[in-house]
C-alpha cells in the first residue's frame, strides 16, 4: 500500500490529529481521548502519520510523545509543481493574447 503525504492528509481524522499535536506534543493516549472512536482505530491513524513522517516520536521517561513534523508537509507543495507549471504557461500565453487585442485596436 502506498504511503504518501497526500494519502495521509486525505483523511479527516488524521488532519484533526495533526492540528491537535501541531500545538503541543501529545501521548497516544491523550490523542485517543480527543476522538470518539476506539483506541485501536486512533493508533492506526497515528501509525500511518508516523510512516509518512508527518509526525515524530519522542521518548520522555516512560511516555512516548508525538509531535508534528512540518517539513514533511512541504512535499505537498512539490506535488503541486506541475500544476503550477501549467498555469504559468497558460498565463504567459494569455499575456500574448491580450497584447494582440491591444495592438489590433485602431
Amino acid at each position: 500500500m502506498r504511503r504518501d503525504v497526500f494519502q495521509a492528509i486525505a483523511d479527516p481524522t488524521r488532519r484533526a490529529i495533526l492540528s491537535l499535536i501541531a500545538l503541543n506534543a501529545m501521548t497516544p493516549n491523550a490523542i485517543a481521548d480527543e476522538f470518539d472512536m476506539s483506541r485501536q482505530a486512533v493508533s492506526k491513524h497515528i501509525r500511518i502519520l508516523d510512516e509518512c513522517q508527518l509526525i515524530k516520536k519522542e521518548q520522555s521517561g516512560r511516555e512516548i510523545y508525538y509531535q508534528f513534523n512540518p517539513k514533511k508537509l512541504k512535499e505537498v507543495d512539490k506535488w503541486l509543481q506541475p500544476f503550477r507549471a501549467m498555469w504559468e504557461d497558460r498565463f504567459n500565453q494569455l499575456d500574448a493574447v491580450l497584447k494582440n487585442i491591444k495592438n489590433k485596436k485602431p
Partner: protein
Amino acid sequence: MTTLKETIYSKDEANKKLFAEREFDAPVKDVWRAWTEPQLLDQWWAPRPWKAVTLSMDFKDGGTWLYYMEGPDGTRHYCRADYSSIVPNKSYKGLDCFCDEKGNINTELPRMNWQVSFNESSLGTKVRVELTFDSLEALHKIVEMGFKEGFAMAHNNLDELLAKGLQ
C-alpha cells in the same frame, strides 16, 4: 516592455481548494473577453505543446463549452465546462470535466469547480482563479495527470528562455 508577472498560488487543504492569482497588463474588458470568447481562449488555454480547439461554446448561465486539447502526437482529450453565475466583467463559475466528443461526461475522472474573478488593479487587471475539488483524492489525481504535460512544458519554457539568451 516585458515584465515577469508573478502568480501567487495558495491552497486550503481543509476545504480542498487551490488558488492562483495574477495581474495582467490589460483592461478588465479585454481580459474578460480572452476568458470568455472561444477564438481567444483557443489561443492560450492549452499549455504548450498542447493546443485547445473549441467545438461549441455557449457562454451563458447553464451554457456549455465543449473543446478538446490535442497533443503533438495527435492525442485528444475532450473536456467540457458548464457555466453558471456569470456577472459580466466581474466573475463566473464553471464546472469542468472530461467527456467524449459528444460531451458525455466521463464519471471516472474527477470534476473540478471553478470560480474566476476579475478586478481592476494598478497594472490593469487582477485575475483570481479558485478551484474546488470533491476530495483530496480528486485533487491528487488531477495533479498526477498533469505530471506528464507539466514536464514537457517545463522543457518548453526552458527552451524559450535559452533562445532569449537567459536575459
